[in-house]
Symmetry: C2
Subunit: 530 residues, 2 copies
């Protein structure tokens, strides 16, 4: 596969390599939408960019590269997080939805289609080689901080240390925090105003007992612990990989009162959300400070991203354009859980000292589509381990080494590759595109196959970023062509589609389904579009 | 001495003793004035009590005893702090002023009198038996957190671990913080808006590197570290003594933005000060939470106090009564550095689970005068070590075991003992009573001997808490009598008086000086007062 060729061949093409074995910090904010920063991820600034305050991310962007077409591997958390850990698309691992308790399917039931027999326990030791295990075997200290959400409660994968992490700070099998407040002990009971340990909940944050009763925000506590872990690694003289995942800005929307006064013009809920955003940014700044003070900043690659699109279903406040609900990722459509761009497009910035900061300005904003599981071979390459990624391993890896893009040699990267998403599940909330689906993007074109009703939608993202004009009916040839590409992608990854509840069988593959759909819906004959 | 008799005899008088070897937390706020809490320390609530928010201190008071006549050992920091560590009045140790650098006298020069040859290096290992060393030898883990200020920079005593502490968190030889803000790295350079390590300063806080770059307040960082140290001790199964001294509310007055919005009616500086007060209270609550979670609350004695009166010289804002400067301890006169009550009277609450919480309400507010160095024999007694305090040691100890007062048996405590203060130094700021002095209190009467000019002032604190009516001229017999008592106290403690710069000799002892003063100033003949 091309991905492997990139990974293996990198050191031959790109020279000189910076210092061997840099530290790597993956700063993975939760549910962070494409617009949830003051750094523009769109070709132009938006009202959201002006609303939020993320000066530390701006500084990171100033010495890094900014990806305007970066995607999460999935519209919800666990699939993306495990894709990063394995380098494999969720379609391949069958970890296609978020996990919680052992042997329990969290998919919301529907009348027409059901989830397939997916990996309801998430990532488990031995199932796949994991990024931290590979790095650890190469001498890295591997540190997880914050939300893990790799495997289910009651399974080994619920504990990040079973998956290759040397250190686990506050990570477990749950994907959201009971509370962001140390005064509430980060527990459900505390949030309900009861004695914080009166009842226990799977959502209670583990391992931060030292912060119980202190008036501190969860993101801040995690950042302090991360600073401590970084200092410990530096003191020990070992390179480190840190997966910093601050739970925020996942629901519940609970403000940080230090920053809320910075947003006097917003309503209470939006003010709280904006303060959560500012808090992650301050945490980023604090980690950079730690790296500076320990003399490691110039030897540390920082990757900033999100695990899925921003939550739009629960937003109560008004977007800058005056619309409510599902506009929180504008100009993108919909949000977390959706097949539309708002569900998967995420802010992504990578700063590689001595490399990205020496690029020309026009090479610092990259339009090439990338996807979360690209971080796997990229990080392995950064660690100088490309030779270890042999064909036997590489044949299973869907991610591609991003180093050509990071080093200003985009011509060495396959910009026209097919990216695919597969979520044969109904997410909990209602909203545009929040339905079981498979989708692919190739170039500017995106085809969505909605499993229930076997419906297709086609968008040209270059012309129609907001997915307002579905072109499927007027461009059946392209639907047919891309349905074939999608089918090939399904074959290649082993993706599972939804189960038709009437027949008990998997629904039709997109090639077959597209032919039926075109017969019924196409407004023009075959060949009407070039 | 009576102090020793109390200490040695305690177990015979007071039974049953609660669980052996309780943990002990001394929560010693810096420069905290008598009115700097919502808990009233006066016989009635004051406007300051209504201004400030200290709900956790209120809870502590609800299960503890409140001392309305508690005094610091001195009007400035080092003397009180070392008096607690040694059980000896500053007059006895000759540590009568605050220390900073080795062999350097920090006293402000005056034209008329000079400081004597005092212990400019502060407390040094081997000079005196220290409280933590005694507790450590009995199996306690001894933990210092925050401001130490025991000995000078460049001397062993500058490091708390040289004085018997097993653990030192952020303590050194300086008595004030460069900055309260983690974003400024707690350094002078950071506070000045420069790169935080561009210059170094003796005021920079050591040992909190993990918090650099984080948006956290110093008191909060110290409280988190304290919680960690408590948990470590509990995990190790050892009792602990913690000297928690949060630097705050010492200058610089720098607000905690989380709490500033709670004080909309105050001016900027008073709002910042109020937020510093609320922050110490939240820290107290957090330590109580840690004790609760570790199952230690019922086995931990908490002593809450301050090291001297509240700063009044620098206050710019108006007091509730509309006056400015030196009214920040109203109804007391003046503040830190002064011979008047505002300089030394401090809030003090002690909660001894199973003991103070079982007292009748009328025994919970204690008017008996006490002084900081009483904590030394009290804590040693609490640790079950009274038998170790033999006469040879005891003869040097000025503090008295407070357990009779804590157990509701005030008749066993000598309420009429003489308390003395001796500060043969000019403090840096100007203000009422901020001059070299010696003073004593016996019963309701207080005599002050101001060294420059050999002046005497006499107050009846029962009738005149605010020291508005100096009775010395109209009651020369009492001046003469108390001058004799003062002289005896000077003899007993070995107090050093100021040096007359004209003669180069120590000034007259109060007995001689009082006779001269009475001859010149008395408005009535001997015997005019009973």
């Amino acid at each position: 596969m091309a991905a492997v060729a990139h990974a293996i061949g990198r050191s031959e093409r790109i020279a000189p390599l910076p210092r061997a074995r840099p530290n790597i910090v993956l700063f993975l904010v939760d549910d962070l939408g494409w617009q949830d920063a003051s750094v523009p991820m769109h070709s132009e600034r938006t009202p959201f960019n002006d609303r939020y305050r993320t000066p530390n991310l701006e500084k990171l962007a100033a010495r890094g590269v900014r990806f305007t077409n970066a995607y999460a591997s999935a519209p919800v958390c666990t699939p993306t997080r495990t894709a990063i850990m394995t380098g494999k698309a969720p379609a391949r691992t069958h970890i296609t939805y978020w996990t919680l308790n052992k042997d329990t399917d969290t998919s919301r039931p529907r009348d027409d289609v059901a989830a397939p027999d997916w990996a309801v326990n998430g990532l488990q030791p031995g199932d796949h080689e994991t990024l931290p295990a590979i790095l650890r075997s190469a001498g890295y200290r591997t540190i997880h901080v914050g939300k893990a959400h790799f495997g289910a409660h009651g399974t080994p994968g619920g504990d990040p240390t079973s998956l290759g992490f040397d250190v686990n700070i506050a990570g477990h099998a749950s994907g959201g925090p009971a509370s962001y407040y140390g005064l509430q002990h980060f527990t459900v009971a505390g949030r309900q105003g009861k004695p914080p340990h009166e009842t226990s909940s799977v959502w209670d944050i583990p391992g931060l007992e030292v912060y119980h009763g202190h008036d501190i925000y969860l993101t801040e506590a995690l950042a302090i612990e991360a600073s401590r872990a970084i200092r410990d690694a530096v003191d020990a003289g070992v390179p480190f990989f840190m997966n910093f995942a601050p739970y925020a800005v996942h629901a519940p929307i609970m403000g940080n009162k230090k920053y809320e006064p910075n947003y006097p013009d917003l309503d209470d809920r939006e003010r709280a959300y904006a303060s959560m955003i500012e808090t992650y940014d301050v945490a980023l700044g604090a980690l950079v400070t730690t790296l500076e003070e320990t003399g490691q900043l110039e030897n540390t690659v920082i990757i900033f991203s999100s695990d899925n699109g921003g939550l739009s279903a629960h937003a109560r406040g008004k977007a800058p354009d005056g619309q409510t609900r599902h506009t929180h990722n504008a100009p993108l459509k919909s949000g977390k859980g959706s097949a539309y761009e708002g569900g998967t497009r995420v802010p992504t910035i990578i700063a590689w000292p001595g490399v990205t900061d020496s690029l020309q300005a026009d090479a610092r904003s990259i339009d090439t589509p990338i996807i979360s599981h690209d971080f796997f071979p990229t990080i392995i390459g950064l660690a100088g381990l490309q030779a270890d990624l042999g064909p036997d391993r590489g044949s299973e890896i869907d991610g591609r080494d991003l180093s050509p893009l990071l080093t200003g040699r985009p011509q060495l990267f396959d910009a026209d590759r097919v990216l695919g998403w597969n979520q044969p599940h109904q997410w909990g909330a209602d909203g545009p595109g929040i339905r079981p689906f498979t989708s692919i993007r190739r170039g500017d074109w995106k085809l969505i196959y909605f499993h229930a009703g076997r419906r297709f939608e086609l968008y040209n993202l270059a012309a129609d970023l907001g997915e307002a004009s579905d072109l499927a009916a007027e461009d059946p040839d392209r639907v047919a062509e891309l349905a074939g590409v999608m089918e090939a992608w399904i074959e290649r990854t082993g993706a599972q589609l939804s189960i038709d509840k009437t027949t008990g069988e998997e629904i039709e593959r997109p090639g077959v389904a597209a032919r039926s759909w075109i017969d019924q819906h196409a407004t023009s004959g075959a060949g009407s579009t070039p």
